[in-house]
Structures are given as structure tokens and as C-alpha cells.
């Protein structure tokens, strides 16, 4: 199945802008389902972006991050064609990783 991470990385001059959208329920553990039972907490805790072997951005997330989370940031020091590695881990030990070429 396609990766749960959608990334757009575009570089203009020395600055690379990165946008990521991740498919994940981000359940808070405080919501009840239709049968009235609590849906257990299930959310991404850490999201890491690496480029050229260096962490360029690390996110620590709590339960207040929206479902199908989105994040945007920019960093310097990368060029078109460099590879960006994105990986996340959630509180249930789930994880996913993908790579994207900087356009």
C-alpha cells in the first residue's frame, strides 16, 4: 500500500520548503465510539526529517495534533535532487518511513 506520508519538498535558492501530510487517526483516547466505548489513544509521538545524514527537523507530538496531521517548515543547506528521509513512530509502536527527492 502507498506510504502513509505525503511530502512536498521544493527548493528555491538555498532554502528548501517542506510540507508533509500523514495519514493517521491521531486518536486522543478521550473519544467514545458509537457503542459508547473509549477509543484507545493512538497518536504519532515523534516525526523526524533527515537530509544528507543530518536531522533537519524533529517533531514531538501529543494528542492535540489534528487527524491526518500536516506540518510545514523550511531549512537551509540542501540542493535540488537531495534526498529527504521522513519517519514517524506512534504510541503503539507503529511506524512508517519514506523518502522524497527535493524538487
Amino acid at each position: 500500500m502507498a506510504s502513509s506520508i505525503r511530502v512536498r519538498a521544493t527548493s528555491t535558492g538555498d532554502i528548501t520548503e517542506v510540507q508533509a501530510l500523514i495519514q493517521h487517526p491521531m486518536d486522543t483516547g478521550l473519544v467514545k465510539d458509537s457503542k459508547g466505548e473509549l477509543i484507545p489513544a493512538h497518536f504519532i509521538q515523534q516525526l523526524k526529517f533527515e537530509c544528507n545524514g543530518k536531522d533537519v527537523f524533529v517533531a514531538d507530538w501529543g494528542t492535540a495534533v489534528s487527524k491526518d496531521p500536516y506540518v510545514k517548515f523550511s531549512f537551509k543547506g540542501a540542493r535540488k535532487g537531495d534526498e529527504l528521509k521522513i519517519s514517524w513512530t506512534d504510541n503503539k509502536g507503529g511506524s512508517d518511513t519514506t523518502t522524497a527527492k527535493i524538487a
Binding site: A2, R6, R8, Q19, A20, L21, Q23, K67, D68, Y70, K72
Partner: protein
């Protein structure tokens, strides 16, 4: 809520009067004229909201409220319906067990045709919506039909809508009395009050677009289906036209009809026809 009750009693009273006076004159004057209807419908909104650009009406509540429009535009940079779009594209090209694909069921391979749906099928004498056509295509190829309100149908219609983005809505009413009857039935459904709240679609989307009902900013009825299917933050997921109709009904405390029953197909026919000339903007993101 108090106002609603006066409305309830008031309209029941008025209805009594109208009912008593229903003289032939009212019936005779009512020749069905969709062209005139569409013009009057669009002018009503263009005059009520003079500074909303005509094509902006398809953006629903965002055409009514600047602060919300900014939040929407920010979300549109990387919209939450991205996953449904990609899933739809994948499903659209995955062949059925018999080797055929959806492209074989639709004109132009299903690409860029959403603006012609729903259409009136003279053979069957009924309105065919995009969702119905997709399920019929599945059944014709030996596949089980999808639920009309769940994600698979939303993903398929999302992809087909995306391939028509920007094309102008172009719904035809053939010269067939049954087509006129279906259009009129859709119009009747749109203006008929229902549920204990005694609301019709028009009570919210014609009388008070741009205003709030609790937290929701109401969308104008003009172009209200152009963005379907929509990803609603409220639902935390995709919603087809069927899901929107069913939930709207239950919110007025009316028991919803079966998805794709005649009334729903006809009201979709009416609403799409009067939005002719406005661009398709699906799939959409909504509050």
C-alpha cells in the same frame, strides 16, 4: 429555537390558508420552466451577495466569511482529501476481476465528465447520478456495489471530480415530460419543510446563507454540490452527496430516505441544473 416554533405554527397556519385558497389559478400559472428558474435562482444570490464573485459561490461557507476563507486556503495548500484522491485514482485504474475497469463504463474513460452528472436517462426515465452510475458499473462487471456514504464511493467520486476541476457545470434537461417531472420533483423536495424542526433545504441555504446555525456557517444553495465529495473536519473524513443529504435530514429530525432514492436523485438534478455555468471545485474541504 423560540423563533422556529413561531415559524412552525405560523407556517402551518399560512399553509392552511394557502391550502384553502388553492384555486386552479395557482396550478395553471405553474408551468415548469427550468431555464427561467435557473436564471431567477442565480440572480437571487448574485443580488443578495453582490460582492461575491459568481464562481466563488461553489466554495460554500468560504464564499460567505473571510476569516474562514483564509483558514480554508491554508488547508488547500495540502488538503486532507489528498488521500481519498490518490486512493480514487488507484481504484479507478485497478481492473475488476473480469479485467475491465471503470473507464470502460464511462464516456471519455470517466475523465473530465463529472460536470455532466446527474443526467436524465430517457431509456429508464430516471435521473442517474455519478454515484449510482459507479455502482451500476461495478454490478455490471460482477463486483459488489459500494456503500453510497462510505469512503470507497467518496474516493472514486473525488478522483472523477478532480479530473473535471474548473469545468463549468453542464446539466441537460431533455425535452421529455418525465425529465421535467423529475426536475420539478427535485425542486419540490428542496423547498419542502420536513422534520420536527420544520426546516426545508431552503430554510437554511436560501433564507440565511452566511449566517450561523450554532457553529456552522451556512453555505448558499447556489453551487452547493459543485465541490462534492467533501472532506469535512466535522466528520474527520470524506462525505459523498448521499452522506450529506442523509445527515442534513437527520439534523432537522426527519428520518432520512434510502441513499440514491428518487427524491435525493431529483434534488441533486435540480441543484446541479440551477448551478449550470459555475465551475466544478470538487473534491472540497469543509468545516
Amino acid at each position: 429555537m423560540k423563533a422556529r416554533i413561531h415559524l412552525l405554527l405560523g407556517s402551518l397556519g399560512a399553509a392552511l390558508v394557502a391550502f384553502a385558497l388553492a384555486s386552479p389559478r395557482v396550478i395553471a400559472a405553474d408551468k415548469v420552466d427550468p431555464v427561467a428558474d435557473a436564471k431567477a435562482f442565480q440572480n437571487f444570490f448574485f443580488q443578495k451577495f453582490p460582492n461575491v464573485k459568481h464562481e466563488d459561490f461553489v466554495n460554500g461557507p468560504y464564499s460567505m466569511n473571510e476569516d474562514m476563507k483564509r483558514q480554508w486556503q491554508e488547508k488547500e495548500e495540502f488538503p486532507p482529501y489528498e488521500f481519498a484522491l490518490e486512493a480514487g485514482k488507484e481504484m479507478f485504474s485497478t481492473p475488476f476481476k473480469n479485467g475491465k475497469t471503470y473507464a470502460d463504463c464511462f464516456p471519455n474513460g470517466g475523465i473530465g465528465i463529472r460536470q455532466n452528472y446527474p443526467y436524465f436517462d430517457s431509456g429508464e426515465g430516471k435521473v442517474i447520478t455519478l454515484e449510482l452510475a459507479l455502482n451500476r458499473c461495478r454490478e455490471a462487471n460482477g463486483e459488489a456495489p459500494y456503500s453510497y456514504i462510505k469512503d470507497e464511493m467518496a474516493s472514486l467520486t473525488a478522483y472523477m471530480a478532480y479530473t473535471s476541476r474548473g469545468k463549468l457545470m453542464d446539466i441537460k434537461i431533455p425535452d421529455d415530460p418525465r425529465a421535467l417531472a423529475a426536475y420539478e420533483n427535485g425542486k419540490r423536495y428542496f423547498y419542502t419543510r420536513r422534520g420536527q424542526m420544520n426546516f426545508s433545504c431552503a430554510s437554511c441555504h436560501v433564507q440565511s446563507p452566511g449566517e450561523r446555525i450554532r457553529a456552522e456557517t451556512l453555505a448558499p444553495a447556489l453551487g452547493i454540490l459543485n465541490a462534492m465529495p467533501i472532506y469535512r473536519s466535522e466528520w474527520g473524513g470524506m462525505g459523498t452527496t448521499s452522506r450529506r443529504f442523509v445527515t442534513c435530514n437527520s439534523q432537522t429530525r426527519a428520518v432520512p430516505l434510502e441513499p440514491q432514492s428518487d427524491e435525493y436523485r431529483d434534488v441533486e438534478y435540480f441543484l446541479s441544473y440551477v448551478a449550470n455555468g459555475l465551475p466544478i471545485s470538487g473534491p472540497g474541504a469543509r468545516p
